[in-house]
């Protein structure tokens, strides 16, 4: 280390101006990853492999079409487009997302993430820097395959509008998945787990999630490129086959949102941008303050309400035409629905009502985890409040209890689920079928005991206790009930009684009760409502106990934070959040 060389000059800390955040190529973090991930040595091999595979796909598909399939040249040029798209999807969606999640976790592992926190760039610039910087190699590899795609689109006479919408959604989907990876990388501490979790999310989006769309959750389809790919399909295959597909497509609905109809591409981009903004908001909060919850309480409620609205908005218009029912997906291929002899079965209505309830409960749990403070956060909040001579915590702040917000979400969830169930059960497909008046209290009880009970354990006793409760109350009773039903077919009622302990089974049973239990044996007809109401009433009692324990825990935390004098016995109006001034 030298001691007398360069001038330091500490009096001029003023930097030159930062480029606007949208100038991604000037973002320092993007440029940093251009250095590290685009070195000729590492990139060269990846480029070679990518060009070999994409070249093979292109020439093999084209040659086979011309020489084996005896297609016209225009049709032959199109045949490589879909395999190339799949290959590009593997690179950008799977590898890119894994790289983003793993790269972000590696930054934390190495400890260099603190340097980026210290950089005086805006949080948004940092989020965008990582979003586009970490998968920079994957973007370059996809670009390397584009000459083959552009050739196919040009010589295959694919309309430019179709090409633009397909690849536009391809890239917005990529950004959405990378953002998911970035969130996973920020939250998950282990690099390998972050890598696997994020890739699993993408994998599920293209395997399991589309199946959920067949069970009423149509919205999830718009998180993939599938709707736009289906719309573009006729232009990516042989022209004669494409014309046939267009005639079938004319019978299918556009993207519906209540009474509005949109082209698939518009609704897909709209849906994805809404989620991209939410993801950016999460990361922005974390970059601004490392200890922040991923979502603020108000934003979280809005996200929950928004998801309920889009689920309903997409699903309700498809009930009367019948497109929402699972068997319709199958019959679309058999052509039976076009001859008019198709109608949904009542079990299908039950299945989609259960699916909606389960997704609501799952969403409720996920957001509850995001906005619920742990004891340490609460304690810090209270200490700060007491120092500032305040006897309350701002209800929107991270340390404040999330109880009122979970209650709000439960209310929204019950309303959404009820509206959905009523529309499905009372559709013209099921003449004379009415949603039972007990549906509303049944749905309310399920989400109350399941949602608020989970919250009370999470906030009062911590994440580990909540996780164990989810396993031993949520899953194990269903497993035990299933085994009981399997080992002895004559024990369906005890199996129901056992399984009904779980809130997840509660979703199933409440839906059954709401539809009047058609087509069940007399034994089950008696057991299902009895088991349901018994466990729900017991659940409410347990919930009351847990809520009281939570109030006590909140109050204890507030007292521990106050190092001056203990507070008198509880008399606060809002779940222990308001305390006597002092």
């Amino acid at each position: 280390m030298t001691t007398s060389t360069a001038q330091v000059n500490f009096d001029d800390p003023r930097p030159s101006a930062w480029p606007p955040v949208w100038m991604i190529w000037k973002n320092p973090i993007v440029r940093r990853y251009c250095h590290s991930r685009l070195r000729l040595r590492g990139l060269g091999i990846w480029l070679l492999v990518t060009l070999l595979i994409s070249g093979f796909i292109f020439f093999a598909a084209r040659s086979a079409s011309i020489h084996q399939g005896e297609m016209e040249l225009v049709d032959a040029e199109r045949t490589a487009l879909i395999p190339l798209l799949v290959f590009q999807g593997i690179i950008l969606f799977l590898l890119g997302t894994g790289q983003v999640a793993g790269g972000m976790t590696a930054e934390s592992d190495e400890g260099v993430i603190d340097y980026q926190r210290l950089a005086p760039m805006s949080p948004l610039a940092k989020v965008l820097g990582y979003l586009f910087g970490l998968p920079i190699r994957e973007y370059v590899l996809v670009l390397a395959t584009m000459p083959f795609t552009l050739w196919g689109l040009w010589r295959g006479e694919v309309p430019w509008g179709i090409s633009v919408q397909l690849y536009g959604v391809f890239f917005t989907s990529g950004i959405l998945y990378h953002l998911t990876g970035l969130v996973a990388g920020t939250v998950v501490k282990n690099k390998r787990w972050a890598f696997l979790v994020s890739m699993a999310v993408v994998f599920l989006l293209y395997t399991v999630i589309p199946q959920l769309a067949n069970f009423g959750l149509v919205y999830f389809r718009y998180l993939t490129i599938m709707p736009v790919l289906e719309e573009s399909w006729p232009y990516l295959i042989q022209r004669t086959a494409g014309a046939a597909v267009i005639s079938v497509q004319n019978l299918l609905p556009k993207a519906s949102f209540f009474d509005l109809n949109f082209p698939q591409v518009v609704f897909t981009v709209f849906s994805q941008i809404a989620l991209i903004l939410t993801g950016i908001a999460m990361l922005w909060r974390r970059w601004r303050r490392a200890e922040s919850h991923l979502l603020g309480k108000l934003w979280a409620i809005l996200v929950f309400a928004w998801v309920q609205i889009v689920l309903l908005g997409n699903a309700l218009p498809l009930i009367e035409p019948g497109y929402l029912f699972p068997s319709r997906g199958l019959d679309r291929f058999t052509g039976r629905f076009r001859t008019g002899d198709w109608s949904p079965q009542i079990w299908e209505a039950g299945a989609i009502v259960v699916t909606f309830g389960l997704s609501t409960l799952a969403m409720l749990w996920i957001i509850t985890v995001m906005i619920t403070p742990n004891r340490e956060t609460r304690l810090r909040g209270w200490r700060k409040a007491r120092k500032l001579n305040r006897s309350w915590l701002s209800p929107l702040s991270d340390p404040a209890t999330s109880w009122p917000w979970v209650v709000t979400m439960v209310t929204i969830g019950v309303a959404g689920w009820y509206v959905f169930a009523k529309a499905v059960v009372e559709a013209h497909w099921f003449p004379g079928q009415l949603l039972h008046p007990r549906a509303l209290p049944a749905f309310a009880l399920v989400l109350m005991t399941g949602g608020l009970g989970f919250h009370a354990i999470l906030e009062g006793r911590g994440g580990r206790a909540a996780g164990l409760a989810a396993i031993f109350i949520g899953v194990v009773p269903i497993m035990a009930g299933t085994i009981l039903a399997i080992v002895n077919e004559e024990l369906p009622a005890p199996a129901i009684w056992m399984g009904a302990i779980s809130p997840l089974a509660g979703v199933f049973l409440s839906s059954s009760i709401s539809m009047g239990l058609p087509d069940v044996s007399p034994e089950l007809y008696r057991a299902i409502p009895r088991a349901f109401w018994f466990w729900q009433v017991l659940g409410v009692l347990v919930l009351l106990r847990l809520t009281l324990a939570l109030r006590k825990s909140l109050r204890t935390t507030a007292n521990v934070a106050d190092e001056r004098e203990p507070l008198p016995e509880f008399e606060a109006p809002e779940e222990g959040e308001r305390l006597p001034a002092g």
Partner: protein, 318 residues
């Protein structure tokens, strides 16, 4: 005063909690411009938590903290522009070369175009004595070189306030000496440096002001002598080498006020003395006046390590 700001760093009633553990307990301090300020204390004293709050990396439970006049909670971006932070066991990315690492951070601080950045990168590599390692991979650097590279990174944007958490850890004695000289030169150039170290004697040599922390509390602050006095260890060790027999000196010292633990070792007399400089001068004059002929005498204070070990033990005992 600099740019109308009185203090480089101001901390008022800072508290940091980890659950029930109080890492920093309502401390206040202010650090003037141009000082090398040392933060000393045993492990778990709260030094790193204090540094992390100063560096805007951690939100305190409460407290007001300003760096160069910027509130670290409300004006985070401004504070980050004027400060440089070097963490304990400073990490570096494994996938960048030394110059790329510095160039990236120069870019994040918007230090101009490519040419300006490269010039500044080379300057800082020169300051850190790493010019010959410019193209080396960060992962290939030794621990000491890594520390110096991160110090170079910390200096890139010409920070007015440098916050260095254990910067000497991993450095060999020569590099430590160079670091000490470099920090003193940076302070002379106008920077304010706040530094923590577990090598306490070195910190005492390096810093113009010191502050001792233990169990999240400030125990003493000021110059090294102030701290020594404040911690109640103003006792000095005096060694006298008489010409005509150590026994006579030992006898004379017995029962003198302020004198304790008199020992005779190989014609030398060692004793401790508790008192002011004036009282010590009077004692020596009286000894000479009594006819004792003294060839040499030597004074030493309690070592700083001893003081801090004592403080830490007392603190734990409480």
């Amino acid at each position: 005063m600099k740019n109308g700001i009185d203090e480089a760093i101001s901390i008022r009633e800072l508290r940091v909690d980890y659950g029930d553990f109080v890492a920093v307990r309502d401390i206040s301090m202010s650090i003037p411009w141009g000082e090398v300020y040392g933060l000393v204390g045993p492990n778990g004293a709260g030094k790193t938590s204090t540094f992390q709050v100063l560096a805007t990396l951690m939100e305190p439970t409460y407290g007001e903290v300003t760096v160069a006049g910027y509130d670290v909670l409300e004006q985070t971006s401004g504070a980050r522009r004027v400060m440089g932070y070097m963490p304990d066991l400073a990490p570096v990315p494994s996938d960048l070369k030394a110059w790329e690492f510095l160039d990236f951070h120069a870019d994040t601080h918007a230090l101009g175009g490519r040419r300006d950045r490269r010039k500044r990168v080379d300057e800082c590599l020169e300051i850190a004595g790493l010019r010959e390692k410019r193209n080396a991979w960060c992962r290939a650097l030794s621990r000491g070189q890594t520390q110096r590279l991160v110090l170079a990174k910390t200096l890139l944007h010409r920070p007015q306030v440098l916050i260095l958490d254990e910067p000497a850890s991993g450095l060999d004695p020569l590099a430590r000496r160079e670091l000490r000289l470099a920090l003193q030169r940076l302070a002379a150039d106008g920077a304010t440096v706040i530094v923590s170290s577990h090598i306490l004697s070195e910190l005492a040599e390096m810093c113009s002001l010191l502050c001792v922390m233990s169990d999240g509390q400030l125990l003493a602050s000021g110059t090294v002598e102030d701290v020594r006095r404040e911690l109640g260890r103003s006792e000095r060790q005096i060694t006298v080498t008489p010409v005509n027999g150590a026994g006579k000196v030992r006898e004379w010292l017995d029962d003198r006020g302020g004198v304790g633990a008199v020992r005779e070792v190989e014609s030398k007399v060692h004793f401790s003395f508790q008192g002011s400089d004036e009282e010590q001068a009077e004692l020596m004059a009286a000894m000479m006046a009594s006819g004792v002929r003294i060839k040499a005498f030597e004074e030493s204070g309690s070592s700083f390590e001893e003081i801090l070990i004592d403080v830490a033990e007392r603190s734990r005992g409480q």
